[in-house]
Symmetry: C2
Subunit: 252 residues, 2 copies
């Protein structure tokens, strides 16, 4: 089945937040991610657009799919893709609804992203959470959106296992039993030299501004990575800092 002009327009519209919100759908691209999504039990597929080769090789993945499967030419894929180098397949799926198990949050480790904007950073942090077995990432309303295609692509499927939920900090705080808050700052205590608890919320601030003052005053433990004043470096990338802090927690 060839695709129509209207379909091209529709798929491309999902590169924009307002249309993602309007339709409740998102786009994911590439062989590996498509396979992960198609084999995921909770995701509802809305459309598959792929090369004839890919469809031939992967027919088992969508033979029972109650949705439209379109064979597209390389040129057509280029027209609907958000990637510089389109990769065989593009999938449209329904956005997931996240339910929060507060007992898990209260007894384990979670991450809070305060105004993190860069979609590559958000995707990378979702991958980090997945790696370290952290099931919840909460974020402020001004943080980037999960279904931004750059977040989805850079999370590399980790968004299927980690919950990324927008939640204002005060409201979140009210839901939590007094668990410790750890905030990544420039001149805090060395995260590798302190006693870390098994549960808690790791707060990561915006790339440029750090943690907002309103949230910072709620934080019991200000932590830093290898604090020093030896050289000119000003900060680590937000996702790198998150990875190092998570490693410190998991290696206590």
């Amino acid at each position: 089945m060839a695709i129509s002009k209207n379909q091209i327009k529709y798929v491309k519209s999902l590169q924009q937040k307002k249309f993602r919100q309007m339709y409740g759908n998102f786009v994911a691209e590439g062989d590996k991610l498509a396979k992960e999504i198609l084999t995921h039990s909770k995701i509802k597929i809305e459309g598959v657009f792929a090369s004839s080769t890919w469809l031939g090789n992967n027919s088992i993945l969508f033979s029972n799919l109650a949705t439209d499967v379109f064979e597209v030419s390389e040129k057509e894929l280029g027209r609907i893709s958000g990637l510089k180098t389109p990769n065989q397949v593009l999938i449209i799926a329904k956005q997931l609804e996240h339910s929060i198990d507060w007992e898990i949050v209260n007894n384990g480790l979670s991450i809070y992203l305060d105004g993190i904007q860069n979609p590559g950073n958000i995707g990378t942090i979702i991958r980090i959470a997945d790696w370290f077995g952290i099931p919840y990432i909460f974020c402020s309303e001004n943080a980037g959106e999960l279904y931004n295609p750059k977040v989805i692509q850079s999370s590399m499927g980790a968004f299927l296992r980690v919950n990324y939920v927008s939640h204002e900090f005060e409201d979140l705080q009210n839901r939590l039993d007094n668990i410790p808050f750890y905030g990544a700052v420039m001149n805090g205590e060395d995260v590798f030299k302190m006693k870390l608890s098994e549960n808690g919320l790791i707060v990561i601030g915006n790339e440029g501004q750090g943690i907002s003052s309103k949230i910072l005053e709620k934080i019991n433990n200000q932590v830093s990575i290898y604090p020093h004043s030896l050289n000119g470096s000003e900060s680590l990338n937000a996702s790198v800092a998150t990875g190092i802090i998570c490693a410190a927690f998991r290696n206590q």
Copy 2:
């Protein structure tokens, strides 16, 4: 002084590797980076293109500059910029020549990037090296180039303090006194649970393929981060892995 069509063409050409190599120059953009470069003793500036406001505020930085300073309109800056959102100033400078102090390399920690391609990852790894006081990053010939504008922008000035030098692995090995090689792999020893030496070379492999087999066989210590098989995550981002391994070394 307004800029000519030929100048626009020249500045834009530096977005491409072949022209950077031909002229031996590179481009850096934005207020912060421009200030760092203009105040750096070793960098030779070839041109400054900035808004009248920026020039007015920062005249002290280039009053003694034996080079051309151009006032550009927002529109002109947009035409020469490689950024989505041009930021006040663009600088052209001569590429640095790196000399290697092998005694420092032999007695300290260095990083080797085996085929790392993503310019954002390379810039972020340069920032990590800067943060942890690691003066040398070596890379294979097929790794990304330092002066790619995306590397320069994401390194955020760290490239001024860290040496990023292309060096084939075998040749590098011949230059080193038997220092330990640590390679980041999927199923190695937990980097936080082993004894790490104070000197050594941390080898980070390509984003998709990992460390090439030719190099892997030279590595004495295969290390991993939080090795586990609990969930579906396949890997950490290369720069995040580098950051965590460097943190492990610095927190021995």
